[in-house]
C-alpha cells in the first residue's frame, strides 16, 4: 500500500512541476488568480529550495492534512470533506444496490442457463458495460427530467429542497438518476461474474455430493455453491469500486453532482494545481482503503488464502 501511495504522490508532484514549478503551470491556465494567493502558494510549495526537498516538504504537509490553497483562495482541505462525502453517498448507494440486485440475478441466470430469461439477462448485461456511463445518464436526463419532468436533472439537492415535498425526499429524488446509472453499470459486471462463477462451481463434484446428501436445491445453491463462488467476485467488486471512484469525474459532471469528481474536472480545467493534487491524493487513499477492505473480506471467506 505504501509504495502505491508514494508512487501516486510522486507522479502527482511531478506533473505539477511539468512546467518547472506549479506556479508557472497555474499561470498557463489563464485564470489570473489573486496575487496574494500566488504568494501563499509560493510559500506552500517552497520554491526556494531544490526539487527533491520540495517534494519532502510537500509530502510532509500532505500527511499533516495541509493541502494548500486553491487558486480561488479557499483552503483545499476544508472543501474536500464535503465533496468526499457527497461522492461517497452516490458510490456506496450504487454499490450496495448493485450487489443486492446483481447476485440473485446472477445466480438465477446460472441455474437457468440457456433459458430465455438467461438470454435476456446476459444481453442486457453486455449492453451495460458497452455504454459510457455518463451517456446513459444523459439519455435518462433527457427522458425523465426534460420530457417527463419526473426527476431533477442536476445537483444533489434542489433549490430550497423543493422536490417531492420535504428535504429528505428531495435528496432521494436527486439520487435516483445517478444511482440508477451507476447501479446499472455495476449490475452488468456483477451479474456476468456471478453467473460465470456459479456455472463453474455448480459443475463441481462437491456440489453433486451435497445434492447426494439430501440437501434441498435452495440450500445447495445458496449455502454451498454461492459461498464457494463468491470469493473471486469480491476481489473484482473491490476493484470495480475503485474504478468507479476513479471514473467519478464523468458521472458527476453529467449530473452536476457536487462531489470530488466534479470538483476535479473543474480544477483540472482551470489548472488549479493544489486542488487537483489534493483531490487525486484523497481519491487514491479511498481506493487503497477499498482494496484493503476487499482483501480482508476475501481472506475471511476463503480459508485457502489466510495468512497465519
Amino acid at each position: 500500500m505504501i509504495p502505491v501511495f508514494l508512487g501516486v504522490a510522486i507522479l502527482t508532484f511531478m506533473i505539477g512541476n511539468a512546467a518547472g514549478n506549479p506556479i508557472n503551470l497555474i499561470r498557463l491556465g489563464l485564470r489570473n488568480p489573486n496575487p496574494a494567493v500566488l504568494d501563499a502558494l509560493r510559500h506552500y510549495y517552497h520554491l526556494d529550495v531544490p526539487v527533491y526537498e520540495r517534494f519532502v516538504f510537500w509530502l510532509w504537509d500532505l500527511l499533516h492534512g495541509n493541502l494548500g490553497v486553491s487558486i480561488s483562495g479557499r483552503p483545499v482541505g476544508s472543501q474536500i470533506w464535503s465533496w468526499a462525502w457527497t461522492t461517497m453517498e452516490l458510490q456506496i448507494t450504487s454499490l450496495i444496490l448493485a450487489i443486492a440486485i446483481g447476485i440473485p440475478i446472477g445466480v438465477y441466470s446460472a441455474k437457468h442457463q440457456y433459458s430465455k430469461a438467461d438470454y435476456v439477462i446476459t444481453s442486457t448485461a453486455i449492453f451495460g458495460f458497452s455504454m459510457p456511463t455518463f451517456w446513459l445518464g444523459i439519455i435518462l436526463i433527457i427522458i425523465f427530467s426534460y420530457d417527463l419532468g419526473w426527476l431533477p436533472s442536476s445537483g444533489a439537492s434542489g433549490i430550497s429542497f423543493a422536490w417531492w415535498g420535504n428535504p429528505f425526499l428531495d435528496q432521494i429524488a436527486h439520487l435516483i438518476l445517478p444511482v440508477a446509472v451507476l447501479t446499472y453499470v455495476g449490475l452488468a459486471t456483477i451479474v456476468r461474474l456471478v453467473r460465470a462463477n456459479m456455472l463453474d462451481v455448480l459443475r463441481q463434484d462437491y456440489i453433486l455430493a451435497a445434492r447426494a446428501s439430501g440437501l434441498s436445491d435452495r440450500a445447495v445453491t445458496y449455502r454451498y455453491a454461492l459461498r464457494n463462488a463468491i470469493s473471486p467476485i469480491i476481489t473484482i467488486i473491490g476493484l470495480g469500486f475503485g474504478a468507479s471512484l476513479a471514473g467519478a469525474p464523468a458521472t458527476e459532471t453529467t449530473f452536476s453532482w457536487p462531489g470530488l469528481g466534479y470538483a476535479f474536472t473543474q480544477a483540472a480545467s482551470n489548472l488549479d494545481i493544489p486542488l487537483v493534487q489534493g483531490i487525486t491524493i484523497v481519491i487514491t487513499i479511498m481506493v487503497l482503503v477499498a482494496n484493503l477492505m476487499t482483501d480482508i473480506v476475501y481472506a475471511s471467506l476463503d480459508p485457502r488464502v489466510r495468512i497465519d
Binding site: 442457463q113 455448480l202 459443475r203 463441481q204 463434484d205 462437491y206 453433486l208 455430493a209 451435497a210 445434492r211 447426494a212 446428501s213 439430501g214 440437501l215 434441498s216 436445491d217 454451498y224 459461498r227 464457494n228 470469493s231 471467506l301 476463503d302 480459508p303 485457502r304
Partner: protein, 329 residues
C-alpha cells in the same frame, strides 16, 4: 433368494447438449440384493458414473433420465417427487466420488461438512452431531479425529480426504453405498487400505455396495456379482467367478487380459481403438469396431441380452461359437 434391494431396469439417461444427444446410459439393468457387493465395470465413458447419479437422481443438466425404472426396496424412485427423493439421499442410499479433492467442499471444515448432513437427516443437536462425526472418523481409521474435524480439506492428504468422504457417505447409515471409483485417484498402497476398510465397513453397517471401477483386480477382490458395461449398454452380467473363469463376451475377455498378473508371464494385451462417440454410436453392436471376433451381423443388428445360464447373461451375437479365455486366478 435374498431380497432385492435395488432393481434398475433398462435405464436410459441422455444428455441434451449443443453438439447433440449424448446417450450416456442406454439400457442398463442392474440389481443388488441385501448385504451384497455388485461390481459395475467398464472404461471411462461406459456410463458407470451416470448410472450411479441416475439412481440418486442427481444427474446434472443437460442430462435427463428418459426411460427405465429404478426400484429401491420395492419403491420406484423415478416416480418420486424431489422432496421425497431427498429423504432417500443419505439415510437410504449414499455415494462416494472418485476424487476427494473435488468432492469435499474446500471452504468448509470437515466438521461442518459432516455435521450439516447429520443434522439434516437426524434430529440431533449440533454438539451431538459433532460427537457422531468424531466417532465416524474413528471408524474410518483416522487418527486424532478431534483435530481433523477442525481442518480444511486442503490441509489433508488424499487418503485421509477419501476416508472422510466415505465417512460422510456413511454418516446416516445407508442401506446401499454407491462407490464410484473410490480408490482410483489414490496411491497404490493407500488403495489397498481403503478397500479393506470398505469391506469391513460393509459388514459393520450391514450395507450393500455397488462398486464402480475399471479395475478387474478390485472386482475380483470385493464383488460377488459383476455387470460389464460399454458405451452405456450392458455387455455381460454374471457372478464374479463366472465372469473370471467363463467370460462370454469379447469385451470382458479383453478387460481380463488387460490386468497384469505376477504368476504368469504373459504380454499385456491392450484393447485397440477408442471409446465410441456416444452421440452417434456405432451401428449394431456398440463394441464391434474394436472386437477381434466381429462378423457381419455384428455391425447390423444390436445384440439382445441373452441368458447363458441362471444368473449369467451376455449381449453378443456370437457367444455360443466363441471359446473365450478366462483366468484361473
Amino acid at each position: 433368494m435374498a431380497d432385492r434391494l435395488l432393481e434398475v431396469s433398462n435405464l436410459r439417461t441422455y444428455f441434451y447438449t449443443e453438439a447433440g444427444v449424448v446417450k450416456a446410459v442406454d439400457g442398463i439393468s442392474l440389481d443388488v440384493s441385501t448385504s451384497e457387493t455388485v461390481g459395475l465395470v467398464g472404461e471411462s465413458g461406459s456410463g458407470k458414473s451416470v448410472t450411479a447419479q441416475s439412481i440418486l437422481r442427481i444427474v446434472p443438466p443437460p442430462g435427463r433420465i428418459v426411460d427405465g425404472s429404478i426400484k429401491f426396496q420395492g419403491e420406484d424412485l423415478l416416480q418420486k417427487s424431489e422432496g421425497e427423493m431427498r429423504r432417500f439421499r443419505g439415510p437410504k442410499i449414499a455415494i462416494v466420488f472418485q476424487d476427494p479433492t473435488s468432492s469435499l467442499n474446500p471452504v468448509h471444515t470437515v466438521e461442518k461438512q459432516l455435521t450439516d448432513i447429520i443434522t439434516l437427516h437426524q434430529h440431533v443437536s449440533r454438539t451431538d452431531a459433532t460427537k457422531k462425526a468424531q466417532l465416524l472418523l474413528e471408524r474410518v481409521g483416522i487418527s486424532e479425529p478431534e483435530k481433523r474435524l477442525k481442518a480444511y480439506p486442503h490441509e489433508l492428504s488424499g487418503g485421509m480426504k477419501q476416508r472422510i468422504a466415505i465417512a460422510r457417505a456413511l454418516s446416516c447409515e445407508p442401506s446401499l453405498l454407491l462407490a464410484d471409483e473410490p480408490t482410483t485417484s489414490l496411491d497404490v498402497t493407500i488403495q489397498a487400505q481403503v478397500l479393506e476398510m470398505l469391506k469391513q465397513l460393509q459388514v459393520e453397517f450391514e450395507m450393500s455396495m455397488v462398486m464402480i471401477t475399471h479395475d478387474m483386480g478390485i472386482v475380483a477382490d470385493l464383488t460377488e456379482r459383476v455387470t460389464v458395461a460399454y458405451a452405456g449398454k450392458v455387455m455381460e452380467a454374471a457372478s464374479t467367478r463366472d465372469v473370471f473363469t467363463n467370460p462370454k463376451h469379447p469385451y470382458t475377455e479383453a478387460l481380463l487380459k488387460a490386468v497384469p498378473s505376477i504368476k504368469r508371464t504373459r504380454t499385456l494385451e491392450i484393447i485397440p481403438g477408442n471409446i465410441p462417440n456416444l452421440i452417434e454410436p456405432p451401428s449394431g453392436c456398440v463394441f464391434h469396431p474394436r472386437c477381434k471376433y466381429a462378423k457381419g451381423i455384428c455391425s447390423r443388428e444390436i445384440p439382445a441380452l441373452e441368458k447363458v445360464e441362471d444368473g449369467h447373461y451376455v449381449a453378443c451375437h456370437l457367444w455360443r461359437e466363441l471359446n473365450l479365455e478366462g483366468r484361473a486366478n
